[in-house]
């Protein structure tokens, strides 16, 4: 429990901060439509309609996943917004092209997230081959955390805002020090609010593997967060 005590000031500061909310995109009519007009339509139904060429359904579906999936992609790419943007578009293009692989007994969310995760892995592999980054260590320098999105202003004073930004950087730096597999599982379960079952469907691994991977990732993460920052 000593570790927990050391972790507490940092985590308490996090707890005091309000979670950043997305500001409404001005031109995202479709996004608003997804929230107001078609909240009851299941993702799977929308996807089936989109497959038949229904543009509205496709728009609603993309808008529904725009914010959560983009946020995960940004975190997985260590804050590279333009890469996350490209990968988001690629994810949906890939989904439309490989609709035949969609198991209708499964839900849409793990499937689309699995596509996104696989694209992130492929992208990292290609970049490694090109010599741009390494799979594990490429995002470990401090410059990468500087590229992370700024926490949205929630009416707090500049001092608090700067403090929160620093704290986010600490957590992000700890995340980038995890292995890609550990980072994936922790981001999907905690950051993307997926259940353990959804996480194991997304990663195509057994539930036990997800649990053990999550446990070891959290262990390492909490150790890094407890360690005094340089």
């Amino acid at each position: 429990m000593a570790g927990a005590a050391a972790l507490n000031p940092l985590l308490a500061a996090f707890g005091g901060a309000t979670i950043a909310h997305h500001e409404a995109a001005p031109s995202a009519k479709i996004a608003r439509a997804s929230e107001t007009v078609a909240p009851a339509i299941a993702d799977e139904v929308l996807f089936e309609k989109a497959q038949r060429g229904d543009r509205d359904s496709l728009g609603v579906l993309i808008a529904r996943y725009e914010k959560p999936l983009f946020a995960v992609l940004v975190r997985m790419t260590s804050g590279d917004m333009s890469r996350a943007d490209d990968l988001f578009q690629e994810t949906f293009l890939h989904a439309m092209r490989s609709a035949g692989t969609f198991n209708r007994k499964m839900s849409f969310k793990p499937w689309i997230t699995a596509i996104a995760v696989n694209l992130v892995r492929d992208d990292a592999r290609k970049r490694k081959v090109r010599g741009e980054v390494t799979l594990d260590n490429g995002a470990r320098n401090k410059d990468d955390t500087a590229r992370m999105p700024e926490p949205a202003s929630t009416g707090e004073c500049p001092g608090q805002s700067a403090e929160r930004r620093d704290e986010e950087q600490v957590v992000q730096r700890a995340l980038t020090n995890l292995t890609p597999l550990e980072r994936e599982v922790i981001l999907l379960h905690f950051f993307n609010s997926m259940t353990l079952q959804e996480t194991c469907e997304t990663l195509s691994v057994p539930l036990g593997t997800v649990k053990s991977r999550l446990h070891s990732a959290l262990n390492r993460l909490s150790t890094m967060l407890c360690r005094p920052q340089p």
């Binding site: 500001e23 946020a71 700024e150 957590v171």
Partner: protein, 144 residues
């Protein structure tokens, strides 16, 4: 019950710290750009009922042609075609409909053509024994 309740409080706090990370806001036109991207590179596949799909494989085309020829060639033999026709007439199409179709064909064929013969005369000529007699009044009129 929360799935994370089983976790050690220290691990739970670490997970919550990740959950509280701010979420990046995508650019306002991301949805529109994604849709444009999809529609420029993907077209919906139109499903066609399998019997209406064209046969594209060369071997399958040959097989289909052979099947049609084999089926139709056997129809030249009256001993084979007649029972099949009778069966179709009685069990599948129905006598009423067959009568109407025969009536129509007779009217079309004899309108401006050579003098028509009665069906019984034609049957007698070909040595076919009639198994039933149509009760349609129009049919008899068309032949008179």
């Amino acid at each position: 019950m929360n799935e994370n309740d089983e976790l050690d409080p220290r691990l739970q706090q670490a997970g919550e710290a990740v959950a509280r990370l701010s979420k990046a806001t995508p650019s306002s036109d991301l949805v529109a750009r994604t849709m444009t991207n999809i529609h420029s590179k993907w077209v919906p596949v139109k499903r066609v009922f399998w019997m209406l799909r064209p046969i594209t494989h060369p071997l399958a085309r040959v097989a289909a042609a052979a099947l049609i020829i084999f089926t139709l060639s056997s129809m030249i033999n009256m001993e084979l075609a007649d029972p099949i026709g009778s069966h179709i007439e009685r069990r599948i199409v129905g006598r009423t409909l067959v009568g109407k179709v025969e009536n129509l064909i007779d009217r079309v064929l004899v309108r401006n053509g050579p003098p028509a013969y009665l069906q019984t005369e034609l049957d007698a000529l070909m040595g076919i024994e009639r198994r039933y007699t149509s009760m349609s009044s129009r049919k008899s009129q068309s032949r008179s």
